[in-house]
Structures are given as structure tokens and as C-alpha cells.
Amino acid sequence: MDWEGQRLAELLMQYILLGSALVAFLMGYVSGSFSSMIYVYLAGVVVTFMATVPDWPFFNRHPFTWLEPLYAEKPSQRVLARQQAAGKKGVKSSQARR
């Protein structure tokens, strides 16, 4: 999921949850049944889960563009330490060659 996809998922979640709460309240109040309000709201929660939890393709429409990799000029400290520990000759000469 890319950055835009995460934003979209969060907005979807808020709109679906608040919208289903509004619909649930109106339906419950008009029909005079508290349990129907709870069931309609639970259905809204399930829809929210289905819409936002899986990594749907429409959350991946803005792929990340990474910079080109940069290569270090010198060998890293870790590589140097490993070479010294090995005690091989020609370490200096190999460095000099570069």
C-alpha cells in the first residue's frame, strides 16, 4: 500500500463508519428498534473491514519512486575490519590498486 493508498484507506474508513452510524441511528429511531440500529451499524463495520483492511489494487496506484542507488567510494569499516582480522597480506596493495 503506497502513501496515497494509506490516505485513501483512512478516509474511506472514516466516511463509511460515520455514514453507517448515521444510517443506523436514523433507521433505529424511525423503526423504534435499538437492536436494528446495532445490526445496521455492525454491517457498516463489516463493510469498512472489507474495504480498508485488504491491500486492494486501488490502494497501489501511486507506486514509490526510489532514487538511484549510490555506491560508496571506500570499502566500509566492516569490510576493513574483516580483512584485518583475516590477517591476509596484500590488503594494502589491494587498497592501493583502487
Partner: protein
């Protein structure tokens, strides 16, 4: 929101918050509701007034209880607890209530009450009754009393409250039988 576990957590958290808000709003609608209950309480028959050995007085009353509490029910009402109390006041004892009858109404369809009951009005009974007050009086002769129907409204969510209808103007016998 990057991984699915974080999204599950976010959806669950927000959904419970919204559910709490829904319940709060639902309980607020009870404040807009104006019930119009009809209560009719009558004393059909007053039994003999007896003096017990321990100094308490006892009397049996036959009551007619008619009430229509359908309008008390809202969409947020779970059940009603209804009771009828005899209430009287005396200078030495203060305010006394004796519960004579009670019932629980779970459905709006059952909210019409039409019953005749025989009830005892016993001084000591106030100790196990509802809303009792300590009391050390002498007798019940010629006592004026009210019959009051109380109903506790138990909501599905929100505030619990009590309402009542007072029917005044009853009197106990002046002398012992």
C-alpha cells in the same frame, strides 16, 4: 496504516468510539420523550385493623391497580420495574413508604396493567420494603395515606430514571376491630 494489522486496529478503535457516540445519542433521545401514563389506583376493601403483640399494627387492603404505561416505553427502554407503595407522613416518624405490589414489564405490549390484589400493610414490613425509613411510631389508626405508583425505567443505554403517579386521599379505619 501501512500493514493490515495496523488497519484492523484502527478500524476497531474508531468503530468502538463511534458505537459509544451512537449509544450516547440514543440515550439523549429519551430526554425528548414526553410520556403520558394513565394510572388509576383504588382501595376496594379495607380489612380489619389489627394490633399485633409486638405493638405493630396490621391491615389488609384490597387494591385495584389499573395503569397504562405504554407511552413510557421508547426505543431505548429495556424494561420497567413498577411498584405501588402506600405512603404516609407523621410528625414523629417522618415519611414512610410500604411497598404493596410490584411487577416487571419487559415488553410494551404488556404495559397495560389491570389487577386486583390483596395486600398487607404491616409496620415491620417497611424494613424490607423499598426506600425504607427507620421508624418507631405507635399506631395506624385513622392514618391518611397516598397510594403511589412508581416505575423505574431501565434503558438499553444511558441514564436510569424513576417516575411516579401519586393518588392521594385514603384513610385507614379509626378504630381496631
Amino acid at each position: 496504516m501501512y500493514s493490515w494489522i495496523l488497519r484492523v486496529n484502527t478500524v476497531l478503535t474508531l468503530s468502538v468510539t463511534v458505537l459509544a457516540a451512537l449509544c450516547a445519542v440514543a440515550s439523549m433521545t429519551d430526554g425528548l420523550h414526553r410520556p403520558s401514563p394513565a394510572v388509576e389506583l383504588k382501595v376496594l376493601n379495607v380489612g380489619p385493623l389489627e394490633r399485633l403483640r409486638n405493638g405493630d399494627d396490621r391491615i389488609a387492603l384490597t387494591l385495584s391497580i389499573k395503569a397504562d404505561l405504554e407511552s413510557v416505553f421508547t426505543w431505548n427502554t429495556k424494561q420497567l420495574f413498577v411498584f405501588v407503595a402506600a405512603e404516609y407522613w407523621s410528625p414523629e416518624e417522618g415519611f414512610n413508604q410500604i411497598s404493596l405490589w410490584d411487577t416487571i414489564i419487559e415488553k410494551k405490549e404488556n404495559a397495560k396493567i389491570d389487577q386486583q390484589i390483596k395486600s398487607k400493610m404491616l409496620r415491620k414490613a417497611t424494613r424490607v420494603g423499598y426506600f425504607t425509613y427507620p421508624f418507631q411510631g405507635k399506631d395506624l389508626r385513622g392514618r391518611d395515606f397516598n397510594l403511589t405508583m412508581y416505575w423505574n425505567v431501565m434503558p438499553i443505554s444511558g441514564a436510569f430514571f424513576t417516575d411516579k403517579a401519586v393518588v392521594p386521599g385514603f384513610q385507614l379505619p379509626i378504630s381496631y376491630n
